[in-house]
C-alpha cells in the first residue's frame, strides 16, 4: 500500500512544474553555470591583468640612474608606459582618477645614494582597490634592485653565493587531492545540502499543506489505509525529491567536466577524476540519505500544521538559512571531522564529505556521523507521525 501511495504522490509531484524546476532543472544547471562563470571570470581576469597597460607616473626630484632603469624595464614585466609628473600631490590625484595606476617618487639624492652604496628610499603610490598594482610595482622595483645589487657585488668583488648561509626547500607531503579536499571540498557538500533541502521543500508543502488547502486530505483519511502508511508513502516522495535534486547537481558537475569540458587543466582534471569515483558517490549517498530524511522530518510537521501553502513556505524558507549556516563550516580550513564535530548534525556531513574528497576518511568518525544523522532522522520521522496522526493538524 505504501508503494501505491508513493507512486501516486510521485506522479502528482512530477507533474508540478515548480517542483520539477527545483528538483531537476535548477540543480542540473547550477554546476555548469557556476563553473562556466568561475572559469570564465578568472581567465578573463588573468588575461586582462596580463594585457593591461600600466601607466607609471614618475616624480623625480632630479634626473637619476633610477629614471633610466625604469625606462629600460624589460617587456616580459607587462605593458607599461612611463609618464613624468611634477609632484606627488598631482601623482596621487592622477592615480585616484585612474589616469595612472602606479606612482613612483625618486628622491633628489638617488644617484649619490647609489654612489655611496646606500639604499635609495623610493616611495610607491598605488590604489589598493586596483587589484595587482602593488605586485606590479614590486616586480618593477625588484628588477631594478637586483640589477643594482649585482653591480655592487661585482664592484666589491663578492661572490653572491657566499652571502647565502642556508638554503631552504619546502616539501608538501599532502597530495593535490588532499589539498583540494581540505580547502575546496566544502563547496560540494554545501551545494548538495542546499539542493537536498530545496528539493524536499516544495513536495513537503504540496503533499501535506497542499492536501489540506485543496480539501483532498479528508477523502484520503476516510480510506482504510493506516495513517502511518499514508505518511510513509508521502514522506518517501519528499526524501526522493531531495535526493534527486542532489543527484542532478552531481550530474550537472559531471556534465560540466566531461561534456562541456569547463576545466582544461589536465592535472586538475586528473585529480577530479580521482575524486569522483563510484566509491565516493556511494559513500556520499550514505551520508546524504539520513540528512535528507532529517530534512523531510523537519519540514513535514511544519507542513502538516500549516493552514496554507503560504504559511508553510513562510516558516520553512527561513529554516533554510538555519540549516544551511552549519553547512558553511565546510568552507573554513582547519575545522576537521573529529569526535566532537561528528556529533553536530549537518556539520558532520559536510566535514565527512570533505574527508571523503581528500581521501583521509576515518571509518569510526564516518560511522559516528552516520549514526547521529540516522538517530535524528528517526526522531523527526516519529515527530512527523505524531503530527500527522493528530486530527486537529490534519484537517483545517
Amino acid at each position: 500500500m505504501i508503494g501505491t501511495i508513493f507512486k501516486k504522490e510521485l506522479k502528482d509531484t512530477l507533474r508540478d512544474r515548480r517542483t520539477v524546476m527545483m528538483m531537476i532543472i535548477v540543480p542540473t544547471l547550477i554546476f555548469p553555470v557556476i563553473l562556466n562563470l568561475f572559469v570564465g571570470i578568472s581567465s578573463s581576469f588573468e588575461k586582462d591583468a596580463a594585457e593591461k597597460n600600466v601607466n607609471i607616473g614618475v616624480v623625480s626630484a632630479a634626473p637619476s640612474r633610477m629614471d633610466t632603469e625604469l625606462k629600460t624595464l624589460p617587456a616580459e614585466l607587462g605593458k607599461k608606459a612611463l609618464i613624468t609628473v611634477s609632484d606627488t600631490i598631482q601623482l596621487a590625484k592622477l592615480i585616484a582618477d585612474d589616469s595612472l595606476q602606479i606612482g613612483i617618487f625618486i628622491p633628489a639624492a638617488a644617484d649619490s645614494s647609489i654612489a655611496r652604496k646606500e639604499a635609495v628610499p623610493i616611495l610607491v603610490f598605488f590604489d589598493a582597490t586596483e587589484v595587482g598594482m602593488q605586485d606590479r610595482a614590486k616586480a618593477y622595483l625588484e628588477y631594478v634592485n637586483e640589477k643594482l645589487k649585482k653591480e655592487r657585488y661585482a664592484e666589491l668583488k663578492i661572490d653572491e653565493a657566499t652571502l647565502v648561509p642556508i638554503t631552504t626547500a619546502y616539501r608538501n607531503i599532502a597530495s593535490d587531492k588532499e589539498m583540494i579536499g581540505k580547502f575546496a571540498g566544502g563547496i560540494l557538500p554545501y551545494i548538495f545540502i542546499v539542493f537536498g533541502f530545496l528539493g524536499c521543500m516544495y513536495p513537503a508543502i504540496d503533499l501535506f499543506t497542499g492536501e489540506k488547502e485543496r480539501g483532498t486530505i479528508e477523502t484520503l483519511l476516510t480510506t482504510p489505509v493506516p495513517r502511518w502508511k499514508l505518511l510513509f508513502g508521502k514522506m518517501g516522495v519528499v526524501v526522493l525529491s531531495g535526493l534527486t535534486a542532489s543527484t542532478f547537481s552531481l550530474f550537472g558537475l559531471f556534465f560540466s567536466i566531461e561534456v562541456l569540458q569547463v576545466i582544461d587543466n589536465p592535472e586538475f582534471l586528473a585529480i577530479i577524476h580521482d575524486i569522483l569515483t563510484l566509491k565516493f558517490v556511494l559513500m556520499l549517498y550514505l551520508l546524504l540519505f539520513p540528512l535528507t530524511v532529517l530534512f523531510a522530518g523537519i519540514m513535514i510537521p511544519i507542513a502538516v500544521r500549516a493552514k496554507s501553502f503560504k504559511e508553510a513556505q513562510s516558516i520553512i524558507s527561513p529554516l533554510n538559512i538555519v540549516i544551511i549556516m552549519p553547512a558553511m563550516v565546510g568552507f573554513l580550513p582547519g575545522i576537521e571531522l573529529n569526535a566532537i564535530t561528528a556529533l553536530i548534525p549537518v556539520v558532520n556531513v559536510v566535514l565527512a564529505t570533505k574527508e571523503l574528497i581528500a581521501g583521509t576518511l576515518e571509518w569510526p568518525l564516518i560511522i559516528l556521523s552516520f549514526g547521529v544523522m540516522s538517530a535524528l532522522a528517526v526522531v523527526m520521522v516519529m515527530l512527523s507521525y505524531k503530527r500527522f496522526g493528530s486530527e486537529s493538524n490534519v484537517v483545517n
Partner: protein, 258 residues
C-alpha cells in the same frame, strides 16, 4: 446501517482560538451527547445551521475524528475501536472536497480503488458502470484541473462509489454547486436508497431535505433538537411551511425554559 449512541466531541482551544471565539473556556463541545440510527434503504438528513455540529458529527462517522465519548457502529462494526475496518464500508463525499488536479479521472479512480482494496475485475466492472451512468467516458483521460465543476463533481461521485460502500456519508454535498450539477448528487442519493444503502447527509437547505430524506434530525449547538421520520416531522409541524418549522424549532431551543 449506522448506529450512534451518546456521541460527544470536545475540542481543546488554544489561546488564539479562545480569543477568536470570545471565550475563556479551555474546551468547546461541538457535539453533545447525541444518539440516532440510520437504516439501510433510507435517507437520513442531518439538518442544522452553520456551526451546529453537522460536519463534526459526519467526520466522526467517517472516522476522521475520534469521538471524545460515545459509540458509533457502521454496518455492525465498532467504528471507534476499529476505524480501519469501518472505513471499508463507508463512502464519503463533501461539497468542499477537492480532487487531485494533476491526475486524470482514470488515475484518481484507480488510486482510490487500490486504497480500498478493490480487485481488478470488480474495479473494471464498477468503473464502466459508473462512467456510463455519469457520462464520464469523454473526459476520463483529461487532467482533473482542466475539467468543469460539473465534471469534477462526477469524478467525486465516482471516487466515492468505486468500492461499492454500504454506508454513504454526504457532508453538504450540494454546497456551492449550480442546480444542474447538484442534480447529479440528488440522483446519486436516490440511487443509493434504491440499492438498499444507508445514506446520511447534512444540509442547511430545507427544500433539499424535503426532496430526499426519509428520516430527519435537527442539530443545533451540538444537540439533537428533533429526530424522527420526515412524515412525523410534517405531522408535528406548527409553522406554515418546512423552513419556518425548522427555524421555529431552532429558535425555541434558544429560549430558556421557564
Amino acid at each position: 446501517m449506522i448506529r450512534v449512541e451518546h456521541l460527544t466531541k470536545t475540542f481543546s482551544l488554544n489561546s488564539q482560538q479562545r480569543k477568536e471565539l470570545g471565550t475563556t473556556d479551555s474546551t468547546v463541545t461541538a457535539v453533545d451527547d447525541i444518539s440516532f440510527s440510520c437504516e439501510p434503504g433510507r435517507v437520513y438528513a442531518l439538518l442544522g445551521p452553520n456551526g451546529a455540529g453537522k460536519t463534526t458529527t459526519l467526520r466522526m462517522l467517517s472516522t476522521i475524528f475520534t469521538p471524545t465519548s460515545g459509540m458509533i457502529e457502521i454496518n455492525g462494526i465498532d467504528a471507534v475501536k476499529d476505524p480501519q475496518e469501518a472505513r471499508k464500508h463507508i463512502g464519503f463525499l463533501t461539497g468542499s472536497a477537492g480532487l487531485y488536479a494533476r491526475l486524470t479521472p482514470n488515475e484518481l479512480i484507480r488510486y482510490f480503488a487500490t486504497l480500498y482494496g478493490v480487485s481488478d475485475n470488480a474495479f473494471e466492472e464498477r468503473k464502466q458502470k459508473l462512467y456510463t451512468l455519469l457520462d464520464m467516458h469523454d473526459f476520463q483521460n483529461k487532467r482533473i484541473g482542466k475539467l468543469s465543476t460539473g465534471m469534477k463533481q462526477k469524478v467525486s461521485i465516482c471516487r466515492t462509489m468505486i468500492h461499492d460502500p454500504q454506508v454513504v456519508i454526504f457532508d453538504e454535498p450540494t454546497s456551492g454547486l449550480d442546480v444542474i450539477t447538484a442534480e447529479n448528487i440528488i440522483h446519486l442519493i436516490n440511487d443509493c436508497r434504491n440499492q438498499g444503502k444507508t445514506v446520511i447527509f447534512s444540509s442547511h437547505i430545507m427544500s433539499e431535505v424535503d426532496l430526499l430524506c426519509d428520516d430527519i434530525s435537527i442539530i443545533y449547538r451540538g444537540k439533537l433538537l428533533f429526530n424522527d421520520t420526515m412524515e412525523s416531522f410534517r405531522e408535528q409541524m406548527e409553522a406554515p411551511n418546512l423552513t419556518a418549522e425548522f427555524i421555529r424549532i431552532v429558535n425555541n431551543s434558544k429560549t430558556p425554559a421557564l
